[in-house]
Amino acid sequence: MSGKFLTRWLQQNLGFAAAILLLVVLYLVYNILHPRGFSSAVAIQNSNEAVAIVFVAMAQTLPVLLGGLDLSVGAVMTLTNCIASELLHGSPAQILLGMIVTLLSGTAFGLMNGCIVVYGRIQPIIATLATGAIAIGLALLVRPKPGGDVDEDLSWALTNAVADFAETYGIADDGQAWWLSPFADIPVPVILVVIVAALVWIPFRRSVTGRTVYAIGSAEGSAYMSGLPINRAKIAAFTLGGLLAACGGLYLAIQTSSGNADIQQAGAYTLNSIAAVVLGGTSLLGGSGGAIGSLVGALILRVISFYFRILDIDPLLQPLIEGVVLLTAVSFGAFRTLRVKNKLDLFR
């Protein structure tokens, strides 16, 4: 019975399963090649560098599931990064308020995207191309020059291991408590990602609104005929995308202790988020896939870039090699077409 269940799951989630396998292999080899492989320090550094793209890729997943693209995710991340760099200091209450304002501003931007798409009846790709430029413009107003003031304790606590977090805030006997020891070496950013995925994505996936998002991407006419809340689901998808992009921006501010309205960075994050979504097994046609896949896809992209450091490859070659790796990985998805014996199935 469980064997049959596993087979069915594999059939329905082949892209996702392949992505996980690829990530595990890449990361194991990376750690074997790394002089300090399999250490907490390496894991902490790697996870810190991966968080922002992971969140942005998860943000991109929702519009893609609808069958669209959000070209503003990188810009919203940049905007919230700049806002956070202005707000994350002062008393603990002020810092907490600053975080909430940062996340809310990203959420509000996503809500605006959703309303424009639904009520303006504009295709997502062009609507978000425009709003992305607006987000960058706002970011430049907030922070014309790179810099910022982010609480140092916060920055330290959230970018290191669990034990360091406990020590910074003096909880669990400064991180020495016996019950903390099993988790002491886990990087805090990993925990943050898991928490957001568990509290935002999983409930969404199992809500009527979330299912409607899949239904719209799969067959919008059928979704309408079934009486599903189409407008609400579209707006919710973009809003949630805004929230997840803001999580990325917030973390980037904490990690770098600064904000930077960098246009090129915003564009790179947007394009990488699309690559991560596809690598993670989500169909660009919409209707199948998920944010956990995109999380894995984003990690694959990051691990590839880690290789450049330890293998001593000329950084000028990085875009070239990344492009080839991405093309190769995506091509694996095309292998299914070799097994198709009814050519009509290729067009479905």
Partner: protein
């Protein structure tokens, strides 16, 4: 009528000046199965689209259980207990069967969808429509068309309808499934549910409904109890004129002449587990039918002949030359040209958003081109010829093909293929879901084409068509030809027996 559950009073609906419904009074009683009859374009689909909240009437009033109502969306109508199953299925292909069955109001725990409860609900509903073989965790896209229709019916049942509308809901069902649907509707009737049944299969309407209403040109012509009129009178009401014989006469069987080498010869054809050694031949001037239950390999056979399938085993010989086409492009441009009118005209037959003219020219670009460019003069001429030949009712050839009714869309598909002047014509259920008038035109056209020396292979899920149209019928079962019948030997009894793979002599 006092016990009317739903009532229309003076409902009118116009689309950009064209009348779809004109001042319609109509009522349907609780605990009845009400058949709606009419040609395509008679206003049946507008009637039910208004009832189910897809369209809003321009004038008039709808009453549900005596109270005036107005539905702004399918959701509002569904909440009021009016559930419609549309011809275009409303299932979501990328979601599972269980997800689809509970799509509008899934069981929830703490605000989240309760998968276990949803699966249990799915199993119960699947049992009700006798589809226990369907896995609730399967994706809908993995199922065959007939299974999907049953899922659609289960989905509607699960919403506890007061009024259930079935629009061509049985068009792809097997005989066993149709019986299941009959039983379900009888059960609903005893519980006071009103069912509106729309079908182009007269014998289904006749077997099932207790009340019949005829529509023509957007008007409600007459409502009467079943049995008050005979078939001929009903058809007369529907088309407003006398009908000639439904099928053109079949020419007497010709003795097999020496020069009658089959144009299409198939032997031992295999593919995956769907085709298991098909032997078949079609000569010029012959209409050969493919019979049998749905899903016995008929569609795959046509696709294999047209070069759509990969790794087909066995032998295909066309005009004596061994080897079938490698692709549809090769099939239509070989020395012996082949055409396939596909199963699903909306996805495989037409480019719905493109114009009628572009669709008509889609297969014959090479014939109307000068060098790399399409010759506008010849293109216009070809389009005009195609429209005239099949009497397609169009406003302008530049209109999008999706603005046409189902029957006219199918005519566009057929006209498109006739433009390449094919020698072999493969037809996959070409009359599915189209009106009686157009059906008759297609029957006559098939006979004319055969008389002009074409070889026609014709799959139909309607036994009456096979009996009426074909010179020979090959009945498929489990991917094999189990019986071949010809001329007057083709009868409903013999076809049904062969479909079920029962030896007629034993039965």
């Amino acid at each position: 009528m006092t016990d009317a559950i739903i009532e229309y009073r003076g409902i009118s609906k116009h689309f950009s000046g064209i009348r779809a419904l004109e001042n319609v009074d109509f009522a349907c009683s609780a605990g009845s199965i009400h058949g709606i009859l009419g040609e395509n374009g008679a206003g049946k689909s507008t009637l039910i689209k208004i009832m189910s909240g897809v369209l809003q009437p321009d004038a008039g009033e709808i009453r549900l259980e005596g109270r005036p109502v107005a539905f702004a969306s399918p959701r509002a109508a569904g909440d009021a207990g009016i559930i419609c199953m549309f011809q275009e299925l409303s299932l979501i292909p990328d979601l599972t069967v269980a997800d689809n069955l509970s799509i509008s109001d899934p069981p929830r725990r703490l605000g989240l969808i309760d998968r276990r409860a949803q699966k249990a609900r799915a199993e119960k509903l699947l049992a009700r429509v006798r589809c226990e073989d369907v896995d609730p965790n399967a994706l809908v896209r993995e199922l065959s068309l007939s299974r999907r229709q049953m899922i659609e019916i289960a989905k509607a049942l699960g919403r506890d309808p007061k009024v259930l509308i079935l629009d061509e809901a049985t068009s792809a069902l097997t005989a066993r499934d149709v019986q299941t649907v009959y039983d379900l509707l009888a059960d609903l009737k005893s519980k006071g549910v009103a069912s509106l049944f729309i079908s182009h299969r007269m014998h289904e309407v006749d077997a099932l409904c207790d009340t019949l209403s005829v529509f023509r040109n957007g008007r409600h012509i007459e409502t009467f109890a079943k049995g008050a009129k005979n078939g001929r009178e009903i058809v007369k009401l529907m088309i407003g004129r006398d009908v000639e014989a439904q099928f053109p006469p079949r020419p007497p069987a010709r003795p097999e002449a020496r020069e009658d080498r089959p144009l299409l010869q198939v032997s031992g054809l295999t593919w995956e587990d769907r085709l298991n050694g098909i032997d078949l031949s079609v000569r010029r001037g012959e209409i050969v039918g493919l019979g049998g239950l749905d899903g016995q390999g008929q569609k795959e056979l046509l696709l294999a002949l047209f070069g759509v399938l990969e790794q087909v085993g066995g032998e295909i010989a066309i005009a004596g030359q061994s080897g079938g086409p490698a692709s549809p492009a090769a099939a239509k441009s070989g020395r012996t040209r082949m055409a396939l009118v596909p199963e699903d005209r909306k996805t495989e037959g037409l480019m719905l958003g493109m114009s009628i003219a572009d669709n008509l020219l889609a297969a014959c670009q090479a014939r109307i081109s000068r060098g790399p460019f399409i010759d506008p003069q010849r293109a216009r001429q070809a389009v005009a010829d195609g429209i005239a030949k099949l009497q397609i009712k169009v406003g302008s050839p530049q209109d999008a093909v999706m603005t046409l009714s189902g029957g006219n869309q199918q005519k566009v598909v057929i006209a498109k293929w006739l433009m390449i002047d094919p020698d072999i014509i493969l037809l996959n259920d070409p009359t599915r879901g189209i009106d009686v008038g157009t059906k008759q035109e297609i029957y006559r056209l098939m006979r004319d084409l055969a008389d002009a020396g074409k070889a026609i292979l014709f799959y139909s899920s309607d036994y009456a068509e096979l009996i009426g149209c074909c010179d020979r019928v090959a009945v498929l079962y489990g991917g094999r030809v189990v019986s071949e019948q010809s001329g007057d030997g083709i009868t409903e009894e013999s076809l049904v027996a062969a479909s079920l793979n029962i030896d007629p002599r034993a039965a």
